[in-house]
């Protein structure tokens, strides 16, 4: 079969949509059947994503002979993408991909050819972790959706379309495709909050929509700005007589600084992998490093005798030195800021976070789970996959500020959480605080010794997954008690342990996991990030360490106000039931399993993350 990785990734993305389409054919009144159908759809997607995961792990990491360093290389999307392109080019274009490319987990088909837009999918440890998390949480959220009774068909369709959007974001490697999925995810979410939400749902939905749209618009600007950059020096024509060329000549041909092979027409692209490559070259040019394209092109010009080639080189140098062009620091910083703010809104980072508490409070329980568990991670994913690799120079320059905002989010979120009386709002603010760790971990760009940065970045990724488990769990648990008490006021609960011991026990596990208790998933990410921070900034490190006190404060205070003490009013409450258990138990298992054996996740995620860190660090390390 040709490229089963393409097939599998596409299925993972579009199976939910197919099931959504199928819902249209259900006769009116068969709500229960629709729910089961939707659940089947999410279950199938989960199964497919697990197949993809197992196969990805086996083909890119496990079955490799050779040095561990090779695994690290192979774990890099960029390496595999380049290999795939080379292989495909030899066969005569992306359509001619063969079964040899089944195991590289990058797949490309032309889509809108006039604009060089490809249907370009790919995965590595970073996105695979998030994909599996998304399918698991979607499945669990669908279980939690059973008590939605309003417009079930509409709900299920939107839910499934939302899942397609989320998975598409994590799997696409074409910026345009990425943007499409990003926006596809936005609308269902708007309606899910706005129609199925609480009393202030319209306000919350519009707030969410506008905030995210603003981020999307920023991203769109950057996409266009990138697209209108002429990158013909980095995507060269093939040599006419490839076989006859000597090895040196062939290598020289593909070097971006050489005159040979430079296309006559401008080349534009949405290819994220290619853009990351160009972004790194831009960083070298801005730092005026000896190995930058600009310096080498100038050198080549000085040595060049042929006047035609001289002309090509001159034009090339002009392109690389254009005022306000891609290869200038101003452009890098501007695009980075736009991208970063776009993603930071999603993360959310203080001060762009106020949509989150409102959206969470108004959204129905399963949607809160998805929102906190998956949507927030897109912000982090965007930063790691797009903002950092494509604008590394600006990222490095602004890393300190990013870390600062991470710290502010951590501390501010924790303090604000402490002051809340609405259970759901408290959990929402705890998300703000926890996602601050992600920013901090990503941003600890070192001046020397990148080992610590690798701990920070891996910690940030682990924190995203860990937070996906705990925050979804916490929102679910709040939903369970809301179904019974019909209010969320923390000061009116008390004493829920006695009527609902199992619920209280599960809550204790999830809340302690969120608090960062060792042996649970919240601890690993936080601890790794914190360990990485001292090397970057002592003040930040101390603030990060002090945050653990605040976290303990609001978590324990919440547990006390909800579960401890006595309250005769709630004596008759039934404990958590089988459906609710089937949603909560997997989350409990994950929060313990990941905490006790973080290697289960890190062993295959780490090569990709550390590889990324190495690639970026190499840009700045030897620049000195």
């Amino acid at each position: 079969m040709q490229e089963y990785d393409l097939l599998l990734m596409s299925l993972v993305i579009f199976v939910p949509s197919l099931f959504a389409f199928g819902l249209l054919f259900f006769p009116r009144g068969y709500e229960e059947a629709m729910r089961w159908w939707t659940l089947a759809g999410t279950a199938l997607t989960l199964g497919l994503s697990l197949c993809a995961f197992i196969s990805f792990k086996a083909t890119t990491l496990d079955n490799l002979t050779g040095r561990p360093a090779d695994i690290r290389t192979r774990a890099q999307l960029e390496y595999r993408a380049a290999e795939a392109d080379r292989l495909a080019d030899r066969k005569g274009g992306p359509e001619q991909r063969t079964d040899k490319q089944n195991d590289d987990w990058v797949a490309r088909r032309p889509w809108i050819e006039p604009f060089n837009i490809d249907y370009y999918l790919g995965t590595d440890g970073i996105s695979m972790a998030l994909v599996v998390m998304t399918t698991v949480l979607s499945f669990l959220a669908m279980i939690a959706s059973w008590n939605i009774t309003k417009f079930v068909r509409g709900y299920c369709i939107l839910f499934l379309v939302l899942e397609t959007g989320m998975l598409g974001v994590f799997l696409s490697l074409d910026f345009f495709l990425f943007f499409i999925f990003w926006e596809v995810m936005l609308l269902p979410m708007y309606f899910l909050i706005g129609v199925w939400g609480g009393p202030r749902r319209e306000y919350a939905a519009i707030k969410f929509f506008l905030y995210t749209l603003l981020g999307g618009v920023f991203m769109l600007i950057v996409i266009l700005a990138f697209y209108f950059t002429d990158i013909r020096d980095f995507k060269k024509d093939k040599p006419p007589d490839e076989q006859n060329l000597s090895k040196e000549a062939k290598e020289r041909w593909y070097e971006p600084w050489s005159a040979e092979g430079t296309p006559k027409e401008a080349v534009h692209t949405f290819d994220l992998v290619l853009l990351a490559h160009v972004g790194r070259e831009a960083s070298k040019i801005i730092d005026s490093r000896d190995d930058s394209v600009l310096v080498r092109a100038r050198k080549a010009l000085a040595e060049e005798k042929d006047s035609n080639k001289q002309q090509i080189l001159k034009e090339k140098i002009d392109r690389l030195t254009t005022k306000w062009g891609f290869f200038t620091s101003e452009f890098q910083i501007a695009t980075f800021l736009l991208l970063f703010i776009g993603f930071a809104i999603k993360l959310p980072m203080v001060p762009f976070h106020t949509w989150l508490p409102d959206a969470h409070v108004e959204a129905p329980t399963p949607i809160s789970m998805i929102l906190a568990g998956v949507l927030l991670k897109m912000g982090g994913y965007g930063i790691i996959r797009i903002a950092w690799p494509i604008c590394p120079w600006a990222a490095k320059e602004l890393a300190w500020y990013v870390a600062l905002f991470g710290i502010i989010s951590m501390v501010y979120g924790a303090f604000t959480a402490m002051a809340q009386t609405d259970f759901k709002k408290l959990v929402a603010y705890s998300s703000v605080s926890h996602m601050g760790y992600v920013l901090l971990g990503v941003a600890v760009w070192p001046t020397e010794n990148n080992q610590f940065w690798s701990w920070g970045m891996n910690g940030a990724m682990f924190q995203m997954i860990g937070h996906g488990v705990t925050s979804a769990g916490m929102f679910f648990l709040v939903g369970v008690i809301y179904d019974r008490a019909h209010h969320r006021n923390l000061n009116n609960f008390r004493g829920l342990y006695e009527p609902m011991p199992l619920y209280a026990g599960i809550s204790a596990v999830i809340f302690f996991a969120a608090m960062g208790l060792p042996g649970m998933c919240g601890f690993v990410g936080e601890f790794m990030v914190v360990l990485a921070t001292w090397n970057f900034s002592k003040a930040f490190a101390i603030l990060a360490a002090l945050t653990v006190i605040l976290t303990a404060g609001y978590v324990l205070w919440t547990v006390q106000r909800v579960f401890l003490g006595t309250n005769p009013a709630y004596k008759g409450y039934r404990d958590i039931d089988l459906r609710e258990l089937s949603c909560a138990i997997p989350l409990v298992v994950f929060s313990i399993l990941l905490g006790v054996l973080p290697g289960l996740l890190l062993s295959w995620m780490e090569p990709s993350v550390t590889g990324l860190v190495d690639t970026l660090y190499r840009l700045t390390a030897s620049a000195k």
Partner: protein, 865 residues
């Protein structure tokens, strides 16, 4: 799978994991049963639930937990004997390796390696690859390393825990009922009734035992930190065991959050250590920060086991550190030590260093950061061991069931702070040690003064615990490494006994804890009274009892320290005076409870002795409280009751003492004399010193030497103070020569100050809790009043602009449209739609803005590109 013959250290690992297994089993069973409980009436689930015992609390968890910890004790005892045996072999092999024939040496070295490998092991928990070689890189590890200290700690913890498990079987018996009345909580009709929680108690106890043993087992700081948090959460869960009481849940929160303050310091310490050393393994840390004791030829270094400071000069590869005792940088020794000579590290010399040292290169770090790391780790210990200023949580922790107070808040967990200070001793600089000493000194005095006025029997004991932990910290700070840890061990037994005794009293008096309502209980509960008397005598430091051995060494060490540093004489006076206070408040407690006339007849009449399952552990603990510190065999010393240095336990601890203690506080008397005579064939001096070496040796007469020199004087002084305390206690509370109430009336200020516990709670509430709540309120207001205000208003403005725009449409454009009449009518209609949904107009603005920026950008790009 478990090959004990080649790795007997695994016995201790098994001992650690047994309680964990018990915890997991009980937890899973509970979860399943609780899930079944909520299944509907008549269903299979409900039937299964009823068949497995229904609502009646099951007893098997208690037996399982007790069996697990008992078995753990057996494992550790076996391991300990094995370890002692191995150690004997190691010692003789070391002798051989040093002095034997060349061929034997090789063999001895090999044998040594094999024997040492018996007691260490580790696995990676998280390892992230390095950039050049993914197999390398930094790792968080889990591992074990058994030495005399951890082996003895294992014995102590498992033994005390086993006894307390047994005691709890009796003490928690009322939790076996279907319904328990909580007299301190009031429900709708009278007392609050709830289901019994017998199993739950043992569930948490098992988790605690695992965490505590794991803490002792750990060969690295990370594992210690993990266990540190886990024992913290167990403490939280057990303090809050009666969570219906708001006092209990508040105390639980207070305990955990106060501990987290300490833990934040701990984390800072960990970060510094991680950044500069890249490892948490104790042995690796110590060997990097302290100079080796001897070189490859067995010759002693002048700077043996010292922290080497100096000034760093040069750049890059020419970087050098020039040794200077006051320098701002610390030399870090290579991770792997190759062949090297003593001359390489000499006072006044220098050494090449690197910023990012490879395996065999030297590194350096700022001295103040090493101090900060030490202080950070110590702050963690301050929290856990309830030292001033974080001592406030421990007295409140008495809300938990009494066996918990005995196990966690007296014998084991709170001692973990002291244990960790002992473990990390080589990391601590002189400044840190002084801070430790003063923290201990202040704590022991403050807590003792409060204990004098407490009325609640458990609170007296709680403050006494705080005070005793202060003694241990002080001892470690002034160089009494063995003294501090020795006291930890003896204290564990007599304090556990005291708490269990108080538990028996509380049990016998039907949950009465007020000392002033007791009195004259001796005839009613003789075993309890007598065993507690043993503990009281031990803690007071009456000669012959275990406490006397350890406390005497501490006071002597403090005296030795004060004699070298007269400016720190307070560090000697505080423990000396407090020895008297200790005797006073302990006898006050005993006399108030057991002696004299009954003060509350209701309590007296219903009082009864505890059942055998409770008094049994009391008796065993009493035996240990009296004799755990004795010499062994008992008559090996001519005067076992007078010679406080004959203790077998103390001698065992000596083996584990790090070399850093000698480096910082000199040799003790025996070591010094042996060195002078050249008798000591150990690693320090091979031949009798002569000339300058002798003068050098004279300088080694430091704190530890003088401590022994003065030990009899210090012991006699302490005994005198103890007798004074004893006399006062009997005068006030037995013979009633003086009336305590009168004393309080005479000094109302002091009395109020002490009963309010020096106003620490009020101070912290005003300084920390209230400000934190205030700030959190501010943050909440910033969110709703500032950020959302901005957002909402800008939205409103946009809407208004859109309306204006709409009106513009209406008047101007529609006016024109009218001119164009019918054709434009449809267009006008279309435009009117803009006014209705403001969301869409907002979107329009955004898109327009996007297009605008895009046009500008593309202009710039195209203009030049």
């Amino acid at each position: 799978m478990l090959d004990f013959a080649s790795k007997p250290g695994l016995l201790f690992v098994v001992a650690t994991l047994l309680p964990l297994a018990s915890f997991v089993l009980i937890l899973v069973a509970f979860a399943i049963r609780t899930a079944l409980r909520s299944s509907p009436e008549g269903s299979i689930g409900q039937q299964l639930y009823q068949a497995s015992g229904g609502d009646v609390p099951s007893r098997w968890p208690a037996w399982l937990a007790t069996a697990a910890i008992g078995l753990a004790f057996v494992c550790s005892a076996t391991g300990f004997v094995w370890f002692l045996d191995d150690h004997k072999q190691i010692e003789s092999l070391e002798e051989e390796a040093r002095h034997g024939k060349a061929s034997d040496r090789e063999l001895a070295h090999e044998k040594l390696k094999e024997l040492e490998a018996h007691w260490v092991g580790s696995i990676d928990w998280v390892r992230l690859g390095a950039s050049d070689d993914p197999r390398q890189g930094l790792a968080l590890q889990l591992g074990f390393r058994i030495d005399h200290l951890s082996a003895i700690m294992f014995l102590m913890v498992t033994l005390v825990a086993t006894l307390i498990h047994l005691f709890s079987l009796g003490y928690m018996a009322e939790e076996k009922q279907l319904h328990v009345e909580d007299h301190q909580v009031h429900g709708e009709e009278g007392h609050y009734r709830r289901r019994g929680r017998f199993g739950r108690f043992f569930l948490f106890l098992s988790l605690f035992c695992f965490s505590m043993l794991n803490l002792v087992l750990a060969d690295n700081l990370f594992q210690v930190f993990v266990s540190w948090e886990l024992v913290g959460i167990c403490s939280y869960l057990l303090i809050g065991f009666y969570f219906e009481r708001s006092s209990a849940s508040n105390a639980a929160n207070k305990a955990f959050i106060t501990n987290r303050i300490g833990d934040a310091g701990f984390v800072i310490g960990l970060m510094i250590v991680w950044t500069y050393f890249g490892t948490f393994n104790f042995q690796e840390l110590f060997s990097r920060v302290r100079a080796p004791v001897q070189d490859s030829h067995g010759e002693k270094l002048d700077l043996a086991a010292q922290i080497v400071r100096g000034n760093v000069t040069g750049e890059g590869k020419g970087k050098k550190i020039i040794f200077d005792p006051q320098g701002p940088e610390v030399l870090l020794f290579p991770r792997q030590r190759g062949h090297f000579h003593a001359e390489w590290i000499t006072p006044g010399g220098d050494q090449d260093v690197r910023d990012d040292p490879k395996e065999r290169q030297f590194g350096h770090m700022p001295y103040w950061l090493l101090v900060a790391a030490g202080l950070g780790i110590f702050l963690g210990c301050v929290g856990k061991s309830a030292q001033f200023p974080l001592h406030v949580w421990l007295p409140d922790a008495m809300e938990g069931p009494t066996p918990v107070s005995a196990l966690i808040h007296a014998a084991t967990m709170v001692a973990a702070g002291v244990y960790l200070v002992g473990r990390c001793f080589p990391l601590f600089t002189a400044e840190v040690l002084l801070v430790i000493a003063y923290t201990g000194g202040i704590t022991l005095f403050v807590a003792a003064t409060i204990a004098v006025v407490m009325r609640d029997i458990k609170r007296v004991l709680a403050y006494s615990t705080v005070s005793q932990l202060g003694y241990m910290m002080l001892a470690l700070g002034v160089g009494g490494w063995v003294a501090g840890l020795f006291h930890l061990l003896t204290h564990a037994f007599f304090k556990a006994l005291l708490f269990l005794g108080s538990g028996a009293v509380i049990y016998g008096c039907h949950h009465e804890q007020d000392l002033l309502k007791m009195g004259g209980l001796y005839p009613k509960m003789k075993i309890t009274a007598l065993t507690m008397l043993m503990a009281v005598l031990a803690i007071s430091g009456i000669p012959g009892f275990s406490g006397w051995y350890s406390k005497d060494v501490i006071v002597a060490q403090a005296m030795g320290f004060a004699s070298v540093h007269p400016e720190h004489v307070l560090l000697f006076l505080l423990p000396l005076v407090t020895a008297g206070l200790t005797t006073f408040y302990m006898f006050r407690m005993w006399l108030l409870a057991f002696a004299g006339e009954p003060r509350d007849h209701h309590v007296y009449e219903h009082a009864h002795e505890a059942p055998g399952i409770m008094t049994g552990p009391l008796v065993v603990l009493a035996v240990f409280s009296v004799g755990v510190a004795w010499g062994w065999p008992f008559f090996s010393s001519a005067f076992p009751f007078i010679d406080s240095e004959s203790s077998w336990l103390e001698h065992q601890l000596h083996h584990a003492q790090p070399d850093a203690v000698q480096a910082s506080f000199g040799l003790n008397k025996a070591e010094w004399e042996a060195a002078r005579d050249g008798r000591l064939s150990g690693q320090y001096f091979g031949k009798p010193p002569i000339g300058p070496e002798l003068a050098e040796l004279e300088k080694q007469k430091k704190e530890r030497y003088w401590a022994e020199e003065y030990s009899h004087l210090a012991g006699n002084l302490a005994l005198g103070v103890v007798i004074i305390g004893l006399v006062f206690a009997f005068a006030l509370y037995y013979y009633r020569v003086l009336d305590p109430a009168e004393g309080e009336a005479q000094f109302p200020g002091i009395a109020r100050f002490l009963t309010h516990k020096w106003y620490f709670d009020e101070l912290y509430s005003a300084l920390i809790v209230q400000p934190a709540l205030l700030v959190s309120d501010w943050c909440k207001n910033i969110d709703t009043r500032c950020i959302d205000w901005l957002i909402d208003n800008s939205a409103a403005i946009t809407v208004r602009v859109a309306e204006k725009d709409g009106r513009f449409d209406n008047r101007v454009i529609d006016g024109m449209v009218n001119l164009f009449a019918t054709v434009a009518y449809g267009v006008g209609n279309w435009f009117r739609r803009w006014q209705t949904g403001y969301l869409r107009s907002y979107v329009l603005f955004l898109v327009l803005a996007a297009v605008g920026i895009f046009v500008i950008l593309s202009y710039f790009i195209n203009a030049t590109g």
